[in-house]
């Protein structure tokens, strides 16, 4: 298991670093800013979806040792999402604060993306064991915002494509399926 964790860290962190390096050294083709946004965006979305498949998979395979992987996968999703946002504000909008704020407000796809980022940040910050203990039951309520995040992320993707809506639709359908697997738990939260 430890080997797998190390491998996971290695691949996910190194890959991100390599692509940024390629961006700085002009190896990402015509529009490195767009390529980086795409890479970090899809990466964050993939990792978020994967983190939500861990529990159902562990239950199905009766393999509880999968569960500890949820947190690092979720944290990497947050790291990729933060990188995605950083590329956006640093290279796309070049730190123009007024423009950043107006784009987040004016463009629905960016609004939902930003909310997703806020959720992932909140979940990352509260992922520490000490904070989890102190929050008690509220921690679980907060962390079910991951279900909201995965849907918002799917919408962010769906609302930015020009015409090829097929891939975002697949992500959204699969996310809804992952939520359906937890429907009893979600219903209880609204009681």
């Amino acid at each position: 298991m430890r080997v797998i964790r190390l491998l996971g860290h290695g691949v996910l962190f190194t890959w991100l670093t390599i692509v940024f390096y390629q961006g700085f050294t002009d190896q990402l083709g015509g529009d490195p800013v767009q390529s980086l946004l795409d890479f970090t965006g899809i990466g964050a979305l993939n990792l978020l979806v994967i983190s939500l498949t861990v529990s159902p998979l562990a239950m199905y395979l009766k393999f509880a040792q999968l569960i500890p992987f949820r947190r690092p996968i979720g944290l990497y999703s947050a790291l990729y999402a933060l990188s995605h946002f950083y590329v956006f504000i640093a290279f796309e909008l070049q730190f123009e604060l007024r423009l950043i704020v107006s784009e987040i407000i004016k463009r629905p796809y960016i609004t939902v993306g930003f909310v997703t980022l806020l959720i992932l940040t909140a979940l990352s910050v509260t992922s520490l064991n000490v904070i989890k203990k102190r929050m008690g039951a509220k921690w679980f309520t907060l962390h079910s915002l991951a279900y909201v995040a995965v849907v918002l992320a799917g919408l962010h993707y769906l609302w930015l494509v020009k015409s090829a809506w097929y891939e975002p639709a697949i992500y959204l359908l699969f996310s809804v399926y992952l939520l359906l697997l937890r429907r009893t738990k979600i219903k209880k939260m609204f009681k």
Partner: protein, 337 residues
């Protein structure tokens, strides 16, 4: 004994380049098939590299482009601002070959341009059909450096080679009833994977069609291009012949044209059909009219260099080609976007 040691580097007088050849060196290079620093860097299929390139297979055989004879015209863009050729030929929207920016260069290398047939028909006195060779020999070719502004808010500066569309329209002699010009791309699902599968093709109904008002088509800036960077067009850029309308968003500059039809009614255009609230018939570059989902006030100019070199510049009305403004004098360009 005295030997004369010949250093392999020492040159003799009869090796000096003849002055006449020296003066024509650029022409000589052109004839040999090279021109300028840009074209000496062959378009590489690895132009748009990414993390998976380390695992990709050997480069497949590349489409062969050939040198062209042309004259240079004065444009306001200096050649120092050119987008590097590998970026202009490796970062394309050509959904017939896939929706990824590197799909066209990767999937189009075996595209057949010979034989080709471009017909000019409809409301004309003299319909014309051009074969592949006719495309290059019918009119004098000029190199024009134009800015290309995509609706996605990136832009390039490209040295196109071709001739004004007006030349060929005049030759066909449009009837007085002709008010619009429509264009159509090749429909060949066997060669174009995006036309075989809706998923690959981005949900577009093919063949790709576009159109211009007749006065826009007759504007001297509007050109039919048969080459770029000194050579014929690579397939990912719309070989063998494409339209370039520099004051409009790039999707109006239809590629791989087979039909030009003069009509009396405003023709359907592919992106307007796909999303009429986002893409209009006129599609003039206009920083004051946002796309419903993103701003059009700025653009990212694609140049040399990586992340730190990317310039975000203000978008200019009509992409800076103010000479076309009179065409739209009485039109509300917010309504006719």
């Amino acid at each position: 004994m005295l030997f004369k040691f010949h250093n392999s580097n020492s040159l003799t007088e009869n090796q000096v380049t003849d002055e006449a050849v020296y003066k024509q060196r650029r022409d000589v290079l052109k004839k040999l098939g090279y021109l300028g620093a840009g074209s000496l860097l062959a378009a590489s299929t690895k132009a748009s590299a990414g993390p998976f390139d380390w695992f990709s297979e050997e480069e497949k055989a590349k489409f062969a482009t050939s040198a062209l004879n042309f004259s240079k015209t004065k444009t306001d863009e200096s050649s120092t601002m050119l987008t590097p050729m590998d970026k202009a030929t490796g970062y394309n929207n050509f959904y017939e070959f896939g929706t990824g920016k590197d799909d066209p260069i990767n999937n189009a290398q075996s595209f057949n341009v010979e034989p080709w047939s471009l017909s000019i028909e409809g409301l004309v006195e003299k319909p014309i059909t051009l074969s592949y060779d006719d495309l290059f020999s019918s009119f004098d070719l000029e190199e024009r450096i134009y800015r290309l502004r995509c609706v996605e808010a990136w832009s390039m500066v490209i040295p196109w080679i071709g001739f004004s569309l007006a030349n060929i329209i005049k030759k066909a002699q449009p009837l007085s009833s002709a008010k619009y010009v429509s264009f159509q791309t090749l429909y060949d699902p066997k060669q174009m994977p995006g036309q075989r599968s809706r998923f690959t093709g981005g949900g577009v109904d093919y063949p790709y069609v576009e159109g211009l008002r007749l006065d826009e088509a007759m504007q001297p800036l509007t050109m039919l291009s048969v080459g770029m960077y000194g050579k014929t067009l690579p397939p990912q850029n719309g070989a063998p012949i494409r339209l370039v309308v520099p004051w409009k968003y790039g999707f109006k500059s239809i590629k791989s044209i087979v039909k030009i039809v003069l009509t009396d009614k405003q023709p359907p255009t592919t992106w307007q059909i796909l999303a009429p609230d986002e893409y209009g018939f006129y599609a003039n570059v206009n920083p004051q009219v946002d796309h419903p989902r993103w701003s059009q006030a700025r653009e990212r100019r694609i140049t040399d260099g990586g992340l730190l070199a990317q310039n975000r510049i203000d978008t200019l009305p009509f992409n800076g080609y103010e000479e076309v403004a009179p065409l739209y004098k009485s039109m509300d360009l917010r309504k006719f976007y």
